[in-house]
Symmetry: C2
Subunit: 225 residues, 2 copies
């Protein structure tokens, strides 16, 4: 059986703050994406690490790899128009094999812990799917199409993170569905394909870095470790 | 007509990190609660600022006031068992008067902007209620009682903040309802009392500081201003 990790950084790499695209921003002296890949290489043995990058980012990535050598160098794959297409490009590279598992992870979640990745893969082996979630910290209200709104019980909701782990054959099949804008993550695609999602424990520190403020928060978390 | 602000810090003041309770933690050289009160005194003219504090916090607060004098010193009121009871103790002190408005605010949201407070009070005057909300940034899944879960469209939800502004007579009446654990904020109580909630624009920087990480984030936001 195979173990695959698919790190998704398919976006055009919008810059914020400094001069580097998001996934290459400096976090405690190391580019964000290098943190992410280090967590994966430390987590367990993989058959292959796959990194989906926007075509325009390939040269930058080559330069980073020279400066920050990784013990397990990922194979790069060109991203597509939407995240969905990027992930599809990636999973198509995974061999069709019964029992193989794949972890799909946002490149801009550099603080994922190796133990958590390993635990999620173990749960995916047991349950077929394993999606990390954390409680919703804030009060929310549901807004109806007519503009009315009402309080909802936040304990009935969980916030979804990555890596999301699946049987790779299931994800490969699900990702051949036509694109739908409701597919905001892989769990949604697998669910649309008819499979139930097993919710696992996430980690509040495993934040998605999409703004300069997020980067500052990530620096704070890293310093506290 | 009257304009009242009710700042709620009714909790026992659990300590985190340092030796001070949450609401008195240092933020850029000034206690958190002083930031909050300064935002309110800068926002507009008030008939009265009311500060609900846990009885054990009163002496600490007196000492802080000596060191950080405020141009508008709030009247302190002893908090109750739950936030609900603290707010009830506070609104009972507001005179019964047609047309008066009240803003209820979490003491541990020190980064609220004066303009936003003013705008919310203006909207409450127009609509009867004004509750600040921001978009939900993360993907969520809804968990059913039987353990199953499904993706929901996050664009149908808004995250609720404070200050929540109401006609004070409405809030006074609503807060005399028997306590119910579903009353997680004042909007919920007003809604249970039969009034529709008007959703207003919030501010992503107006965070609730409840953990050491939140304090670090608040410091980052403050530095960027």
């Amino acid at each position: 059986v195979g173990r695959y990790a698919l790190i998704v950084a398919g976006g055009k790499g919008e810059r914020f703050g400094g001069d580097r695209p998001k996934q290459f921003q400096d976090l405690g002296g190391t580019p964000l994406l290098v943190h992410t890949l280090q967590a994966f290489q430390d987590a367990m043995e993989w058959d292959e690490l796959l990194l989906v990058l926007h075509p325009t980012m390939m040269a930058d990535w080559e330069r980073i790899l020279e400066e920050y050598p990784l013990s397990m160098v990922p194979r790069t794959i060109a991203g597509g128009e939407e995240r969905f297409h990027s992930v599809r490009n990636g999973v198509r590279e995974i061999p069709e094999k019964e029992g193989s598992l794949v972890a799909v992870h946002d490149a801009v979640r550099p603080l994922v812990r190796p133990e958590r990745i390993r635990n999620l893969m173990e749960e995916a082996e047991l349950f077929g799917t394993a999606v990390p979630t954390v409680p919703l910290k804030e009060s929310i209200r549901q807004v109806e199409g007519d503009g009315t709104n009402e309080a909802v019980d936040r304990s009935h909701y969980r916030v979804v993170q990555t890596p999301q782990c699946f049987r790779s054959n299931s994800l490969k099949a699900a990702m051949e569905r036509p694109f739908n804008s409701e597919y905001t993550d892989e769990a949604t695609v697998i669910e649309a394909h008819g499979e139930a999602i097993h919710l696992s424990e996430g980690d509040v520190e495993n934040i998605k870095v999409t703004t300069p403020l997020d980067l500052r928060i990530a620096e704070g978390i890293l310093k506290d470790r």
